[in-house]
Every structure is written in C-alpha cells, then in structure tokens.
C-alpha cells in the first residue's frame, strides 16, 4: 500500500538485506527477460518454472506456518504434498484405478474427473492425516513429532508404491487433466487462443501456442493459491493467534502458565501447514500432469526446509523468497550443464544448496528476510498512536529507537 503512494519513501524504508534482495531480484528478472527475448529460454518452459516456483513457495508457506510460527518439526512435507498430489490425481485422471473401483457405485463415478473434487479430497485426506499424527505427538516434547513425521513420510511413500490397486504403484498416474478442464471459458481458453509469433530481436522469433496459454493458466492458478495463502498467513502471523504460536515456539511452558491451551494451538498450526502442503501437491498434479512415487521422495521435504531456513524462519516473504531460490538452483543447474560445465547436474545442485546454506548460517543465521520485529494487529498499533507504521514495524537496525 505504502509503496504505491510513496515509492521513494518505501525504498528508503528498506533494511539493507531487503534492498539487497530487491536489487538481486531485479537483476535476475532482467536476465530472465533477456533470455526470453533472445529465445534462449522458451516462454512455455519459463511459465512452467514460475508454476514450480509457486509450488515451492506454497510448500515453504506450509512448513513456515508449522516450524516458523510454532516451532513444530515436520519431516513429512513430502507426505502431505504427496497426499494432495495423489488425491487430486486419482480423482481426476483418466488412467486412475479409482475409475474401475467405483464402477457400479451410484453417483460416485460422475464426481470423478472434476478437479475441484480432487482438490477437496486431497485436502481432506491431508487434514485427517495431520490430526492422526498430531494427536499422539503434539502433547509430547518437540522431538516426538519430528520422529513420527519422519516415519510417516516413509509409510506414505511405501503405501503409494505398493498399493497398486489404488495408486498404480511405481507406474504412477497419467492422464491428468488441467485444473480448469471442464470449466466454462477457462476450460477451452488454451485451444481458443490464437498462436502468436513475436519477433522482438530479428531472427529469433518467440512462439506462443496452446501449450503456452495452458502454462499461463497454471501460473494464474498458482498465483491465486499462493496469494490467498499469503494473505491468510500474514493476517494470522500478526494476530494474537500467531503471537501464542510464537510464544510456544520460544517457550511453551510460559504459554501454558499464561492459560493457553498449547496442544490445541499446535494442532491448529500443524493442520494449517499440512493443508497448505497438500494444496501445493494438488497444484503440482495439474501442472505436471503426471505423479509418481518419486514425487514423494524425501528431497521435497529437504527443499522445503532449505527454503524456510534460507528465507528466515517465521517470515512469510522469506518463505516465498526461499521457494524461488530453490527452483532457480534446481532448474538453473540444468542450464549450467547445457552451457559450459561437463558435470552431472544432480550432485552439483546439492553442492550448491549446501554452499548456500552454509553461507547463510555463517553470515546470516536468522535467514535472509527474517520476520519484522514487531507483530501486532495493524490497526491496534495505528490506534495506539505509535509513530511506526504497521508495515515498517520495529525493524532490525532501526529497532528500539523508533519510539523516541
């Protein structure tokens, strides 16, 4: 808001790391634009990457609302992601074993194939799973959830791999429609759009065809998902609800002594985060149009943790930033391989992530964009007559002296 009315003031108000992130992001965008215009980066593939970045951002948002808010250690990000992805895939794919299973059951077959049903089912299964794992562990010390979730991730992966009557096993699920299939207008939008041929730089035309418009729809979808989640999390983070979670993260006994039902708060945080992870999975299904047991590998959990720690635990914009960095490293290494280095990209990727993590831990242990210092319901701070606006809060380096 303030950035629109007073752009210069907004820029001056940034802390150094924020300015730094802004600068690097701008440079990165210019670089991408150049790659797009010269044809080095295909526009459809680029949009796929944006979708992937949005998906990682969602995963990081989910983990952030567990670990960053309440200090819950969840090592089964991949499981909740997978439950969302498989829930959506099995209920929408033409190749889904569910089609056979439900044959003859009244009403049910007509629900199959609707992406919105897949979305609801994916989220519902994640909800139940989160409660089931939360009930025995959230009353205990933090390490119990960590261990149980580690086990859960493997259990879900093995079930998906072995219960072939339900999941198709290692072959995965194919024949998944786009999320908007069957919707009025949007369902036929990609086919209805004309193919476009742009030639900004003579000799290297950029073609925009059906696949491009399909990818564009996916980007809009993930923007809607991530935007909605960001809105919810930002409000929750600054609220008394978020404050109780942060108290639990710092010192659960203190929250208990002050009369907070910490078990209930931890459960809410855990369920919320798990739903967001499942939402990421639902989106992934309709982005990739194929899901397999490989999508449930622990590496997904690892990436989500790296993204949250990198961005700054507890910070929603940090989680967004971390998600984008992960995709850049994951996909950028493919290019490095094409262009210059005769190295296998997979180990290089992990090496790069390792280096980034060590550098961040060494020079900026709180993450690149840690949460603003003060999180009070915005209008309350305004009403209280405090001079600092809710958007600037009490920032690092400016902290403390702000009220004199």
């Amino acid at each position: 808001m303030s950035a629109l009315t007073d752009p210069r003031g907004a820029v001056e108000d940034l802390t150094r790391p924020e300015g730094w992130v802004l600068g690097v992001s701008a440079a990165f965008l210019l670089f991408l634009l150049a790659a797009l215009l010269t044809g080095a980066l295909g526009p459809t593939y680029f949009l796929f990457l944006v979708g992937l970045a949005g998906m990682y951002a969602l995963l990081s948002f989910g983990l952030n609302s567990q670990w960053g808010f309440a200090g819950l250690i969840n090592f089964s990000v991949a499981a909740f992601f997978g439950v969302g992805a498989y829930g959506a895939a099995l209920f929408t794919a033409s190749g889904s074993p569910l089609v056979e299973l439900f044959e003859g059951v009244p009403l049910l077959p007509s629900l199959l194939g609707l992406p919105i049903v897949g979305l609801v089912v994916g989220l519902a299964v994640a909800f139940v799973l989160a409660i089931l794992i939360g009930i025995p562990t959230l009353r205990l010390r933090a390490d119990y959830l960590a261990i149980a979730s580690l086990g859960l991730a493997e259990v879900v992966r093995l079930i998906v791999l072995n219960e072939r009557w339900l999941t198709n096993g290692s072959a995965g699920v194919r024949g998944i429609p786009g999320f908007f299939a069957g919707w009025p207008v949007l369902g036929t939008f990609p086919e209805a759009m004309p193919g476009l041929r742009l030639e900004v730089i003579p000799g290297s035309p950029v073609l925009l065809e059906t696949a491009f418009w399909q990818a564009l729809l996916n980007v809009l979808l993930v923007l809607a998902f991530a935007g909605g989640v960001y809105f919810v999390l930002r409000r929750a983070h600054r609220s008394p609800w978020g404050r109780v979670l942060r108290t639990i993260r710092s010192d659960e006994d203190l929250a208990r002594a002050l009369g907070k039902d910490t078990y209930s708060f931890k459960m809410q945080s855990f369920v919320l985060g798990s739903l967001i992870m499942a939402l990421a999975g639902v989106f992934y299904t309709h982005l990739n149009l194929y899901v397999g047991p490989g999508d449930l590998d622990p590496i997904t959990t690892f990436y989500a943790w790296v993204a949250v720690i990198l961005g700054g635990s507890g910070s929603n914009r940090g989680a967004l930033f971390g998600g984008i960095v992960i995709v850049t490293i994951r996909e950028g290494t493919r290019f490095l391989n094409d262009v210059a280095l005769p190295i296998d990209p997979a180990p290089l990727r992990l090496l790069l992530i390792g280096v980034v993590i060590i550098a961040v831990m060494r020079y900026r242990p709180q993450g690149v964009l840690p949460p603003q210092r003060e999180l009070i319901w915005p209008s309350a701070v305004d009403g209280g007559g405090a001079p600092d606006s809710p958007d600037s809060g009490v920032r690092e380096q400016k902290g403390g002296g702000g009220d004199e």
Binding site: P240, R246, Q268, G314, R373, I376, W377, V381
Partner: protein, 262 residues
Amino acid sequence: MSEGALAKQDPVLAVDDLQKSFGGLAATDHATFGVERGTITGLIGPNGAGKSTLFNLISGFYEPDGGTVEVNGTDVTGMEPYEVADYGLIRTFQTPRKLEGMTVREAMLVGPREQPGESFRRLFTSPGTVAESESANLAEAERILAEFEIDHLATQPATDISGGQMKLVELARAMLAEPEVLLLDEPVAGVNPTLAKKLKTQIRRLNEQGTTFLLIEHDMEFVMDLADPIVVLDQGHVLTEGTPEGVRNDDRVIDAYLGGGA
C-alpha cells in the same frame, strides 16, 4: 485432617496432603496449607525444600502422586495448566522466560486471556472485534508498563532488557491475565536493590487492589517485610506457618536453614 487449610476463612488456594516423588526422593511430602484471600503469603525453605515443585503441582505442570489442590473451592487436581489458569491462578517461573523476537509490549500482549484474536476463525469472520480487543489490550499493556515505570522499554526487544527488568515485565504480564491468585517464584532473585524495592512496591499495590499473592523468596528481608503469613517448607513438608516474627524466632526453622534437617 488439615488444620492449616481448615483454619482459613476464605481460602483462594487450598493444598491438601500433596505428594510427589522423583524416583526415591519425596520432593513434596504430604504438604498441606492454604492461602487466605487478600493476603501476600510467603513460602520459604532451604534450597531443595520442594518449593518450586509445589508450584508446579499446584499450577498443573506436574501430576501429583496424591493429595488435592483447590482453587476458589474447585478441585483442580490433575488439570492442565491452562484449565487451572481459567480458575484464576497464574504462576511465574524461577528463571526468567525470554520471548525471542518480540518487543516488550508484544511479550506483554501474550498475557490477556481469551482474546478474540486467539481464535483462528475469528481473524477472518470478525476482524473488527479482534482489532478492538487488540487496541484495548495494547492500551492496557502500556498503562501497566507505565505504572511499573518501564514504559520506556515498550518497543525494546524483550531479550535485550536486564534480568531485573525482565522480572518486572513478567509480573506486569501476569497481571494482564487478571489472576485472582498469583504465584511468584523468587521474584527478586538476581535483581538489584533499587529494582527489588520497585517490585515490592508494585506487589503491595497490586495486593491492595485485590490480587492475592503466594511468593517464594530466599531474600529474607524482602519476604519478611512483604508477606504475612509465611509458610515454611522443609524436605517437602510444611514445617510451620506463622507471622514473620513467629517464623523468625522458631527454632525448627533455624535448624532447617542451618542444614540440620528436621
């Protein structure tokens, strides 16, 4: 039966025959006493006498092996700490608790109980109510900080203030929870004399306004000046209870402190 508990006219807290052991060690050994409404009751005893354990049992942090705890006439034995808090009992901790990443006034805002904004749903269904109560709580927090003469700390990081100031903030925050009886575990341990005096004034003032206190303290001058009656604990059981004068001159108390045991 328990003469200590029965002797009270209007006990806000009644502990009856409470027991707790850790392995072979009876940390709380059939302890019985009561806290009369409106008093500042002191709880003293040598190191390891079981004072903090007793607080943990009363406030629901530990499950007793036997005996009962009543708050305002309700049996709260075995309840969760948040349920005990609902009956009007709030406790602080011996070691100051730090809230990382919060400013002082933010840390204060954890205090008020049953805030509408603590319901996730209401953040979205009735943001207006949430905002109203948050404004009111913020004003109240700032008022109490001003009363405690630490309002200049309001926007400092809660981890950057001195140990003594932290104790003041803890007391101020506990008051925001509007307890009927407040249990303080060593409120002036490690606090410089000036701040200790301030704390004493505040506790007395809050007591005059109606809050009942039960406080553990090793600083004899502090506790003898502030509290009446004083309960003496030794090896998990109540040795005696009396006025500061009476306790000071009791030979059994002197023996306990000199390490002789009972």
